[in-house]
Symmetry: C2
Subunit: 402 residues, 2 copies
């Protein structure tokens, strides 16, 4: 299996990035980012399913409905450009146009992204003033600067890269994401950008969506789905290698490297969940279908009572079983088995008899551990990754705009 490294969006050939302080954030931190490929790149995108979609999401979808070849993405943090009506949409289009002009590109060559507070118009004068400097700042050394510039309440930047040697040469993937608030299974990453120098076929979107489902959509911090969630993969073909020209086994290796990178990025979001002190894998197995397994896993992973117990290092397995029962999936309580790591806790729906408390107490003290619930119904299995619910989660979110 290919090794995940710390490179970012500029790791694959032909990508440069930039990040500047445009003055959008009151804090004065980095807040405008640019990702650029001189060679046009094929773009695969997954957006939030929220009925209230931010202007940049609406704009990007409009652009991608026409063609899926672009050169750049310009992203601001500190303002979500959501619930901003026609003016917000015009601003998103204008932000793209300003970047297109400065980069010497044609119409519909640049996508946009925004993250931050909802309901405020973008400070377009500041963005207009910052774009020339942003474009000048482009460099293949700026993966980290880019990663920093898209952050909001994130406490760490989130990057990753992977390369693999194929019979036709080296293929590279890089990526960066941000998110720690409003993270939900239904589009977990507020913003995620993945780059590759591989050439990908147009129909790769279906596959990309399923990779997103098992990575970014399999994590949850607080059950809220944002108005801006976006996950984009740019493939500029600069490695000279076309996926479909590789042998089937090499194609599988490439897919699995991409998936590993996406999961690596997604898990960084869990660990940076607002106020999170734990990362817990909730595995649900023995389900009739993956969909039902996912429904049960997400019910457990989003239960506040379960997440408070994780925070309190309390092996309160009753809450896990109860959340599973509240998921809407039909099962028989007397067929349930539950493990914390490899310690059996429930068998046949009742507590395992002579359970020494010590191993359980030690497991829940760990920063990362796994809980496995067997429904005893079938052979389907999924894993969802969740964080705990801490005082700091409440603190961060109670004081966000005030």
């Amino acid at each position: 299996m290919a090794q995940i490294e710390n490179g970012g969006v500029c790791f694959p050939k032909g990508f440069t990035a930039a990040g500047v302080k445009a003055g959008i954030k009151a804090s004065g931190n980095l807040d405008l980012a640019l990702l650029y490929s001189k060679e046009p790149a094929r773009c695969f995108a997954v957006f939030t399913k929220n009925q209230v979609q931010a202007a940049p999401v609406l704009y990007d979808k409009e652009v991608l409905s026409g063609k899926n070849i672009i050169n750049a993405i310009v992203i601001n943090s500190g303002n979500a450009n959501a619930c901003t009506g026609d003016q917000g949409y015009a601003d998103a289009a204008n932000m793209a146009e300003l970047a297109e002009k400065e980069l010497g590109l044609g119409k519909c060559s640049v996508l946009v992204g925004s993250t931050g507070v909802i309901g405020h118009l973008l400070p377009m004068e500041k963005i207009r003033a910052a774009i020339p400097g942003l474009v000048k700042n482009l460099s293949a050394e700026n993966s980290e600067l880019f990663a920093k510039s898209i952050c909001t309440t994130d406490t760490t930047i989130k990057t990753g890269s992977v390369s693999l040697q194929t019979s036709m040469g080296e293929v590279r993937f890089g990526g960066s994401c941000k998110g720690s608030g409003m993270i939900h299974p239904d589009m977990a990453t507020m913003l995620a950008y993945i780059t590759t120098d591989l050439r990908l076929p147009e129909d790769f979107l279906t596959e990309f969506k399923s990779l997103v489902n098992e990575s970014f959509n399999a994590i949850t911090v607080d059950g809220d789905m944002s108005t801006n969630d976006t996950c984009i993969l740019l493939a500029n073909g600069q490695s000279g290698i076309f996926l479909n020209d590789l042998g089937l086994s090499e194609q599988a290796d490439v897919r699995s490297a991409l998936f590993d990178l996406m999961k690596h990025l997604a898990l960084q979001i869990v660990l940076d969940g607002e106020g999170a002190t734990k990362k817990v894998e909730i595995e649900v197995c023995g389900a009739r279908s993956k969909a039902e397994a996912m429904q049960v896993a997400k019910s457990i992973a989003t239960s506040n009572l379960v997440k408070c117990a994780f925070f309190g290092e309390d092996p309160n397995w009753g809450r896990i079983v109860s959340s599973a029962g509240a998921s809407g999936v039909v099962f028989h309580a007397n067929k349930l088995s539950l493990h914390f790591e490899d310690v059996p806790v429930v068998k046949g729906g009742v507590p395992v008899g002579a359970l020494p408390a010590t191993p359980l107490a030690e497991i829940v003290k760990k920063k990362e551990y796994k809980i496995s619930l067997d429904l005893g119904l079938g052979h389907s299995k999924v894993s969802v990754f969740t964080s705990d619910l801490s005082y700091d989660y409440v603190k961060i979110n109670a004081e966000y705009t005030t």
Copy 2:
């Protein structure tokens, strides 16, 4: 409209109650309660929809599948008798039988209820030892003692009563409930007992269910549905008045008095939500149907980000709109209107222009207020009541069993 008073389960004629310390709770607090009607009472019951149902729920459903006339309910707090398998079921049946014997009643005359920690067998010796004293303790003065004895993490007892004068004489309703953790719209009250001296027809269950939907099922504290949730109405007919003998307008008055009492009890649970400092009414109007309005209202009412904002007294309306969008109900963002009390905040999907911050800031500082979201799609409307998410919620739930 009839006035809600502070009476409890013994307020209607013919009901007595009791509460003792059986030693089930480690704290030594009151933990065993009894509600009794010498005259057999018709019983209407709604139970949790959780797939994992506690032994007392399974037992009561079994009894009620045979007949719906009972004399008493014995309830313990401190132990949920859930996830306890066949032994748990036998214990629930045994608890009922012990009470039946002591009360001189036949089989299937007593229901049981349990609330507390999951996964531990009931301390049957303690319960057996306490039942005689419990029965001796029965008195019409014990509404409050009963209310205390069914509490767990509740910080206040929750009681209420209402009487109304009909052309045939006085009719009384009384009630008591407990719950502050694991409270969820789908069966909000962990345990709720309502009594009346009215005689009710057998088919009143349908109506009772719909009253439960608009009262106990319209409140939410943390989105979790317990394994034990139970709401029971006992009608012993001791007023000598049969509902169906009243005129239609009087029947309507009786129903509305019962509903007012149920809502009064349910709202006490919201205010006693674990760590709650606010009670917020989420009204969703302009929906295509009540079901869709409820789906949107519950999505908002269970959003951690929204609830943290309530706690932080932050008028962060963007989170409300975003949660509505994540509810799964299809609507048009540009038709949304949002009010905090009577202050318009969003109109046509965008913030209301020259909004002075002051009134909003004052509204969110109040202990109780109302938010109204108009979807602009139709004429259906519902209200859901929710609490905020505070440091204390996390504290209470992180330290529950440790």
